[in-house]
Amino acid sequence: MDTLNENCGLPEINKEGKILAQLNLNADIPALKIFKYYCHEIASLYLKEPDKIFEFILCSDEVFVNCIVHGYKGKGGVVNIQFELEDNYLVTYIRDFGVGICEKYLEGIPELVEDPFCENGRGLFLVNSLSSKLEIERCQDQGTLVKIYFERMC
């Protein structure tokens, strides 16, 4: 697979198959922009409605940023992305090889923290609320796999 940050060119979106695109990206801001570009293009094809496209991009963004900030603690690493069609869902797989997500998120996304003035803790809550389904796995070898499901319009 190409690592886009090495300027190998952007892989095309495969509109014919079940796997639409696979990316190997660095956990940094330039790669995040590339990821969001793909999210926009793919969402435009399969989700159609502008508000759903925004929500899809935002959810993907939040999870990728978690890879950067929490998975790799800002020290960099690789994020594997796969966009796939599964039944009537558009599914985004986001895998990092960092420290692994906190155990509490494996039992379900916590409700919002009680303190409304709390400045943190809204990212995954938003993803869980906006998407059709969210699955999180702490990987046996290393890191975290997040699967974000959005119901397709076509």
Binding site: I29, P50, D51, E55, L58, P116, R122
Partner: protein, 111 residues
């Protein structure tokens, strides 16, 4: 992302436009805190804001807390529907007053 401020009818209007994302949320947070300095109540006009992530939401919460500590108030107006939904989902609309139009927000300050 752009922040513009003006004083109107003794209220400081802080207008945010563009996107707030991982790349610029710190700049947004710092700019917002600078904009709300002073003694005025604040009206945050988000009509031009097209993208807001959870870190941007946190910046707004921080600004609200700062203003409340100062015994002032901060209200929001002109949110685009997809942005307003974020405040609803996170229940921030129960804490921070949201108004559809700027004039409605001004009217609320006069009550």
């Amino acid at each position: 992302m752009m922040i513009e401020t003006c004083i109107k009818e003794h209220i400081k209007v802080v207008k945010v436009s563009g996107e707030v994302n991982f790349e610029n949320y710190r700049e947004f947070g710092d700019g917002l805190l600078r904009s709300i300095e002073g003694s005025h109540n604040i009206l945050l006009d988000l009509g031009g804001l097209s993208y807001l992530n959870s870190m941007g939401l946190s910046c707004i919460v921080k600004a609200y807390a700062y203003v409340k500590k100062d015994r002032r108030d901060l209200r929001l107006c002109e949110l685009q529907e997809h942005i307003k939904k974020l405040f609803t989902i996170t229940k921030l609309d129960k804490m921070i007053a949201l108004y559809e139009k700027q004039e409605d927000a001004f009217a609320s300050y006069k009550k």
